[in-house]
């Protein structure tokens, strides 16, 4: 069936036809008979679904802890189709992409690697980040299970650590299988943070490379260096320092006028690097733009902020059976504080080492302050108030020539709520160049054409900004070194560089 109509309504199914000609019984989820799962040393953990670099770094980081991890390949269009074939109808497309990707990988193990279905079920576990509502993200496990059962892998284990509460959703796996110790989470967090940092630098460098492909080659080298450091338990700081040298070798011409495009929106659609958003980043770069992606730590910081808010609200409330001297709120507070500090410290440490100077871990409180007149902060689905806040921040602080909010078709918090609110934000800030765009419900051609439409204005704005600056005859060589990252009120990289030079003089 064609994938590109958001109006297509599938006919109703009244009752599963599988049960025709069978005697009535009560259906229950899960395998009817107990499965003898393999011991830890034979078990392979599968994961995936972040950026390409992060998936690989996580694989290395977790393998370094003595368990076997494999990162799934980047979900592509075929994964999406598989997801659609086995998933419930009416899901959002990140579900189809990620669920389909797992099913396809298992099918690949079965059909090409020759493993039996029983062996796959016994030996493999899929580990994913979970959620606890209120958007569809929290129900992904339901989808994984349905698709896996329908594809013939009933009993395959899915487990997730909830980003909010640290509790487990999905199948409870035996405790000794995975050590969810602080070391586990810290190692994981390091891989994510380093991935964010290198990715951000990649997006800053690639648009200006003199020789096509050199940035990607350098990034691949960085990936190998960091992965190796994880596996060999050597210093990550040293690895980042090494990466700095690798990246410095990429020849740049940073005075090309390019519009800066902030990409945000629904977490997965805005993060994935492939068919899931029609390769949005590569497309923007090919069209002559520089992208500002949202790092994954944003989402992490949002979760910590939500936990903090919930604690703040609860601490003043009366409650039955609570001790007269109650330390529970303090405990949560300390944990959250420690979590925030850990992310910030690691981020700053690694960022400074590799040379990412102009990015700070987001202050969610500040963003909430920007958004609160527009968005009910208690509504915690999806990216919560962040989409609205990012747009306001981008306009108020001159961060981008264009803000693209990308989301899957029918994304509840993003399409149905944030976009509705953004219409008020753009009315209040008419100077904002803002594009909200869904990744399905229309074909790639339409998607690209809308992006181009918005990009046109951004290019004009970048050009105007650049032309308004007095050009100096003597351009110091450092402008073409990525380590030189001036911050001023100019948006475009070229404009900001020129501005900083003239100020220096």
């Amino acid at each position: 069936m064609s994938l590109s109509c958001s109006n297509i309504k599938t006919p109703d199914n009244n009752g599963d036809l599988h049960f025709l000609h069978h005697t009535p019984h009560q259906w229950r989820e899960g395998p009817t008979e107990a499965i003898g799962y393999a011991p830890k040393e034979e078990t392979v953990f599968l994961s995936g679904g972040l950026t390409l670099l992060q998936d690989k770094l996580i694989e290395a980081a977790l393998n370094s802890l003595g368990t076997t991890f494999t990162a799934l390949p980047n979900p592509d269009f075929k994964a999406f189709q598989t997801g659609k074939a086995f998933g419930n109808r009416g899901q959002c497309n990140p579900t189809y992409f990620t669920v389909g990707n797992l099913v396809r990988y298992l099918q690949h193990l079965r059909d090409e690697k020759g493993l039996s279905t029983e062996e796959i079920i016994r030996k493999y576990i899929y580990i994913t980040a979970g959620g606890c509502g209120p958007c569809r993200f929290g129900m992904y496990i339901t989808e994984y299970k349905k698709a896996l059962a329908d594809a013939g892998f009933e009993g395959f284990r899915i487990t997730s650590f909830d980003h909010e509460k640290g509790i487990f959703q999905g199948d409870e796996i035996e405790e000794q299988m995975l050590d969810y110790t602080p070391t586990f989470f810290i190692t994981l967090a390091k891989a994510v943070v380093i991935g964010d940092i290198i990715n951000m630098l990649g997006y800053k460098i690639r648009p200006y490379e003199v020789e096509k492909g050199t940035t990607d080659a350098a990034l691949a080298q960085c990936r190998a260096i960091v992965a190796n450091a994880f596996l060999k338990h050597t210093s990550l700081i040293a690895a980042m320092w090494q990466c700095r040298k690798v990246l410095s070798a990429v020849k740049l011409d940073r005075l090309q006028v390019k519009p800066k495009v902030m990409v945000m929106g629904e977490f997965w659609a805005a993060m994935t690097e492939g068919d899931g958003n029609y390769n949005l980043y590569r497309f923007l770069e090919a069209e002559g733009a520089e992208c500002i992606p949202q790092p994954i730590i944003n989402r992490l910081m949002l979760s910590l902020w939500e936990a903090e808010q919930s604690n703040l609200k609860q601490q003043h409330l009366p409650g039955e059976n609570r001790p007269a001297v109650d330390f529970s709120s303090l405990k949560s507070r300390l944990l959250i504080k420690a979590g925030k500090a850990a992310v910030k410290t690691h981020f700053t440490l690694y960022a400074k080492t590799i040379g990412l100077h102009d990015y700070d871990v987001p202050d969610i409180d500040k963003l909430a302050e920007l958004a609160k007149a527009y968005y009910t902060l208690e509504c915690s689905g999806g990216e919560g108030h962040l989409e609205v806040a990012h747009l306001i921040e981008a306009v108020k602080h001159n961060l981008a020539h264009l803000v693209i909010s990308v989301k899957p078709f029918g994304c509840m918090p993003s399409s149905a709520v944030s976009d509705g609110v953004q219409s008020l934000v753009t009315a209040r800030y008419p100077q904002a160049n803002f594009l909200s765009i869904e990744t399905s419900g229309e074909g790639a051609a339409n998607f690209y054409s809308r992006v181009q439409m918005a990009l046109f204005k951004a290019k004009q704005a970048a050009k105007e900004e650049f032309e308004a600056i007095r050009k100096d005859e003597n351009i110091p060589a450092k402008v073409n070194n990525y380590l030189y990252q001036p911050t001023n009120d100019k948006i475009g990289t070229a404009a900001a560089l020129l501005q900083s030079i003239s100020v220096l003089k």
């Binding site: 590109s4 006919p11 703040l312 219409s423 051609a445």
Partner: protein, 1124 residues
């Protein structure tokens, strides 16, 4: 130097040749008839001769339009996005224009130019989905359907006097509505006006994303240029909006404010040039036409991955097929004496059929009539055909059975003896021909696909196509028509193909897009025909039935419906079934097209025999039947503010049998004409509500009524115990809790008097349906006067359209209609005169829930986010709330945490209502009591119904839905339909929640340790944080264990919280074999016909189920609860 701008649209090719100042020196515009490259080549070759000098000096080439990307490289042209191009052309030519509406062949665009305070111009643009219907292609198709010549359409004047409902959301939907209007004899000009209005309103409500089209407005694109009635409609509707939104404009100069410029069709081409020249990143020069010529010549098909196998593998294959499946021609037996027979009429959507069967049920005669629009006229012609075949009047027609789309009209007009729903007619017919061993009956008619699943001769389940499915008879017909092949020759042509392109299935618009593309790729007519025939089985089995494995359905398949006469379609079907079920018996009904009519005739035979006499007026009378059809101000329904436009069809037979059939109403009130008739209708509805209760309706009404009287408020003499909470060291120390007793604090008498003067309105939407008694009681307890607490009305389509014009997002209908409720509270007279002070639309983040061991009790993110979305929509251009002096109260409420809820309520209302914290807390407690009282009462009624059902062996219907599906405007009154068929209905709230009662059903699972208690659903769904979804799943589990409960499962289109539970509920009810009718994807418009056929077919299976239940109970005294 000159620059060439080319625009390759979906239906036409245009170019402009400009000098350096963008003056047009040459231009051309021509339809391309799917041949884009050859058409462009021809145009440019002509240009090279007519403007040789300019042609030789073409520098850069810029190209835009949906078909541009393939051609661009051949001309070294720079591709420019269409909307950018149009924006630039408009900025260049009309600096004073502030909005643009462009309707193209396939798409629609709206552009707003906005100016910020610093004088910077920004542009807001929006485009429709490629298939939406507000476009030229739909208008063209519909013009054909109403039988209007294009010239006639271009002379039509717009009038808003008589408008009918047309869904403009999708081309397929619009066409269906148009066809129905044609059939009810609505004049062509009214239909075209209705279409224009629907398109304009769709664009104004959806595509503007809530922004006002500010003057001047430019209308661009083919339809806007060539259809003055469309222009007039835009002018009228836009001016209405301006009036409504207080935009100042000169009413006399409307023509100059909403303009259609000259050369409108060249804007994109010209804009492409302006855009490209401005960007200066295009360094390639025009390269001549050689590469374009190569492209034109090299076109051919067969290389791509779209190639599929042909219909016929070999000559032997075809011969074997034809031998087995060629339907022998029917030679009617010629009676020589009076023969008793029964007439069956199937008034279908595209054709009508009539048959005569004799007393043994054998076919005597069949006649066929392509529908000409009016069902009565069609029927009279059918009867004339019968008469003509029986000059000596041997047929003694003793009864009439009717079915199909026209059945209700005919039943009244001719006093038919039987009126049965199509599905049942088809089932009876198939069983008459092939006995009760049939497992699957598949009927493919002109518009619909019906698949019935049988077990031991009884219908166990069915699947019906919806508007979206396209693989039906009409598709084959229109394909044949497009290529000028008579439909009878279709198969002959299709069998010739040696390969076939692989089409998408599911949607007619996409199929047509594919057809155009495949034609472009060079596929032949034969191959296209074969490809379309192969769409059919895919559409039936993969899209409508969605069965990955046909073998589970059984072994004996019967195919019927007129489409089976087309051997290409039939072969595709048979091959598909055989490939899936090699040992299947696939039979074709000997009279596939008349199967429905035969079923109706058999039913007439049966009921006349059972009753002993016939009601049918007789053939002679029927032949002289006359009719009138009227749709005017007199026929309009006046019983409520919606004022439905109705059609009266009055029929009369010579002996004075007259009947009136009323069509076009949206509720039952529309079925009567006088106030007295309405009174008696209401009285009978009331008595029906008593004998056959519809608890969903009852609940919807009671929820908002003041049924709870708050207790007397405590006085300062009253002492309360309070837990004091002290957070130490700014949160870095322990929290200290002490308990103390102190007097209840009250606000002053002055404050109380102030509260008495306040009016607070609450929209009747979303989770207010879960909480209304709480919200009302909280306010009442605080001293807000009962009559000063206002709720909006139930939803209806007109109200939706009123408020939707401000909409900025296209979410689910329940959320979109919420905005219209707020709009109603702001603007409807009834509320305006009350002088509302506060409009309370809380963002409910968590709900009270009874499912235990759940991951949470959260409400849907759309539900909790909608208040702010509504606020944004109504404050974006002007603040409508402050203009009306109303405070919009939308703060969050958490009903899963009572302590937090109290804090939130006091934060919201403390200052606004001048109340103390004690008063607020106490009022909240009263609110909980009110909610509990409501629940208890409705559960008692539910218990009564369930107990009675068990005692009498009845089947009752439990509605699974989210709380707001109790709104009759959202459930499309399906429950009322069941009620009128004699089925009692329960809401989920009405299911008793007493532990002992439920242990009867869940006890075994609890004892076996499968679940922890009766409200635990982890055995079927673990990720159950969504309160409403979890409750649906729990209710499904209950239904699966209660033998007397059948399920109606409602879900709104795009519902993200219901989607993960579709398969779960389906499996729970499927495994337990609980009768189950899902109506998913319900939306704003009521699909009346599709609901009716589903309800009636389901009712039939329920009757059979009740029979079985009875037998089973008698034999085994076994309840379904014992199956576990």
């Amino acid at each position: 130097m000159y620059a060439l701008g080319i625009d390759i649209g979906s239906t036409t090719v245009k170019y402009v040749l400009c000098d350096k100042d963008f003056n047009i020196v040459a231009k051309a515009y021509t339809p391309h008839d799917t041949k884009q490259a050859p058409t462009l080549l021809k145009l440019l070759e002509t240009l090279s001769q007519t403007h040789k000098e300019a042609y030789d000096n073409i520098g850069k080439v810029y190209i835009t339009g949906s078909g541009a990307s393939r051609i661009a490289p051949t001309l070294n042209a720079r591709f420019v996005q269409e909307v950018n191009a149009v924006v630039l052309a408009v900025e260049h030519l009309h600096p004073d224009v502030r909005s643009v509406v462009e309707l193209g062949g396939q798409d629609a665009k709206i552009i707003h130019f906005k100016e910020s305070e610093d004088g910077k111009k920004t542009v807001l643009t929006s485009m429709n989905d490629k298939c939406a219907s507000g476009t030229g292609a739909t208008i063209e198709k519909c013009t054909m359907k109403v039988g209007m010549e294009p010239e006639e359409a271009s002379k039509l004047a717009f009038s808003a006097q008589k408008l009918h409902h047309v869904a403009a959301k999708c081309g397929v939907f619009a066409e269906t509505d148009i066809v129905n209007l044609v059939k009810t004899s609505v004049p062509a000009n009214e239909i075209m006006n209705s279409l224009a209005d629907a398109i304009v309103m769709q664009n104004l409500t959806v595509l503007t994303r809530g922004n006002t089209l500010m003057p001047k407005v430019l209308l661009l694109g083919g339809p806007n240029t060539y259809l003055p009635f469309l222009q007039e409609c835009w002018r009228m509707r836009i001016a209405e909006l301006w009036d409504e939104r207080g935009i100042a404009y000169d009413k006399e100069k409307l023509e100059k404010l909403i303009i259609v410029p000259d050369n409108a069709q060249y804007y994109a081409a010209l804009g492409a040039v302006i855009f490209g020249e401005g960007e200066a990143n295009h360094d390639k020069c025009f390269s001549g036409l050689i590469a374009l010529k190569t492209l034109v010549e090299s076109s051919g098909a067969g290389e791509s991955d779209t190639v599929d196998a042909p219909l016929v593998q070999s000559k032997a294959d075809l011969e074997a097929f034809q031998k087995r499946y060629t339907i022998p021609p029917f030679i009617p037996p010629k009676p020589t004496s009076k023969t008793v027979c029964f007439l069956g009429i199937d008034g279908g959507s595209t054709s009508s059929k009539a048959v005569l069967v004799n007393e043994k049920g054998e076919l005597m005669l069949k006649v066929y009539q392509l529908s000409k629009g009016n069902p009565i006229a069609d029927t009279v012609e059918l009867l004339q055909k019968i008469k003509a075949q029986d000059p000596e009047s041997h047929y003694d027609i003793r009864g009439l059975g009717v079915t199909g789309y026209a059945a209700d009209v005919l039943e009244g007009a001719l006093r038919a003896d039987a009126n049965i729903i199509e599905t049942i007619a088809h089932m009876k017919s198939a069983q008459a021909a092939f006995g009760t061993s049939v497992d699957v009956i598949c009927d493919i008619g002109g518009q619909d696909i019906k698949v019935l699943f049988m077990e031991n001769g009884m219908m166990k389940n069915f699947r019906l196509s919806n508007q979206c499915s396209a693989g039906n008879g009409t598709l084959l017909q229109s394909m044949a028509k497009q290529f000028g092949v008579p439909v009878e020759k279709y198969a002959e042509v299709a069998f010739e193909a040696k390969q076939a392109p692989r089409f998408n299935y599911g949607c007619a618009v996409f199929l047509d897009t594919d057809r155009v593309n495949f034609q472009k790729e060079g596929y032949t007519k034969e191959e296209l025909f074969a490809g379309i025939a192969k769409v059919l089985p895919k559409n039936v089995w993969q899209y409508v039935v969605q069965a990955p494995n046909l073998a589970m359905l059984g072994r004996h398949f019967v195919l019927q419906g007129g489409t089976q006469y087309n051997q290409a379609a039939l072969k595709a079907q048979v091959d598909y079934i055989r490939s899936q079920v090699p040992d299947a018996t696939v039979d074709v009904h000997p009279h596939p097209g008349e199967a429905g009519a035969i079923g109706a005739a058999l039913e007439a035979l049966h009921s006349v025999n059972a009753r002993g006499y016939a009601t049918f007026v007789g053939l002679e009378e029927a032949l002289q039947m006359t009719y009138t059809s009227r749709t005017d101000e007199e026929t309009r329904c006046r019983f409520c503010s919606i004022n439905c436009s109705r059609t009266f069809i009055d029929t009369q037979t010579p002996s004075g049998n007259s009947a009136r059939y009323i069509a076009g109403f949206s509720c039952e009130d529309g079925t009567v004409e006088s106030v007295d008739a309405l009174k008696s209708l209401r009285a009978s509805r009331k008595s029906l509500q008593e004998s056959v209760p519809n608890l969903v309706r009852k609940e919807a009404e009671k929820l908002f009524a003041p049924l709870y009287t708050p207790n007397a408020k405590p006085t300062p003499e009253h002492h309360i115990e309070e837990q004091r909470v002290r957070v130490t060291l700014g949160g870095w120390g322990p929290t200290l809790r002490t308990t103390q007793k102190r007097p209840f604090q009250t606000s002053s008498a002055e404050d109380a008097a102030y509260r008495e003067s306040l009016t607070i309105a609450i929209p009747k939407v979303l989770n207010v349906y879960s909480l209304a008694p709480f919200l009302r009681t909280y306010l009442e307890a605080l001293g807000i006067q009962r009559h000063n607490i206002l709720f909006s009305t139930f939803s209806n389509e007109d109200m939706y359209l009123e408020g939707a014009k401000y909409g900025s997002v296209d979410s689910c209908y329940p959320a979109k209609v919420a905005q219209s409720h707020v709009y109603q509270l702001l603007f409807a007279k009834k509320y305006a005169k009350k002088g509302i002070d506060y409009l309370w639309f809380p963002a409910v983040t968590h709900l009270p829930g009874y499912v235990t061991h759940s991951m949470g009790q959260t409400s849907c993110p759309i539900v909790s986010g909608t208040p702010k979305v509504v606020y944004s929509a109504f404050t974006k251009e002007r603040n409508l709330f402050s203009e009306k002096n109303i405070t919009f109260v939308d703060e969050a409420l958490d009903f899963d945490n009572r302590a937090l809820l109290k804090a939130q309520l006091f934060d919201i209302w403390g200052k606004r209502l001048r109340i103390t914290k004690d008063e607020s807390d106490w009022a909240a407690e009263e609110g909980w009591k009110a909610l509990a009282q409501q629940d208890t009462q409705i559960m008692q009624e539910g218990r009564n119904i369930l107990d009675e059902a068990e005692a009498n062996g009845e089947v009752v219907i439990l509605m699974l839905g989210r709380p707001y599906h109790s709104d009759p405007g959202l459930n499309h009154e399906v429950l009322d339909e069941f009620q009128s068929l004699g089925f009692k209905t329960l809401s989920m709230r009405a299911v008793p929640k007493e532990h002992n009662y439920l242990m009867r059903f869940f006890g075994k699972d609890v004892e076996a340790g499968i679940i922890a208690d009766v409200f635990d659903i982890r055995d079927v769904w673990k990720e159950n944080f969504s309160t409403n979804s979890a409750q649906k799943v729990w209710a499904a589990k209950f239904a699966a264990r209660h033998p007397n409960v059948a399920v109606l499962d409602l879900s709104s289109f795009k519902c993200g919280h219901d989607a993960p539970t579709y398969a779960i509920i389906d499996k729970i009810l499927g495994a337990s074999r609980t009768p189950h009718l899902p109506l998913h994807d319900i939306d704003a418009n009521k699909p009346g016909g599709s609901i009716k056929i589903r309800v009636k077919t389901f009712a039939y299976t329920l009757e059979q189920y009740a029979e079985e239940l009875k037998i089973k109970r008698e034999k085994l005294n076994l309840a379904r609860g014992d199956f576990q």
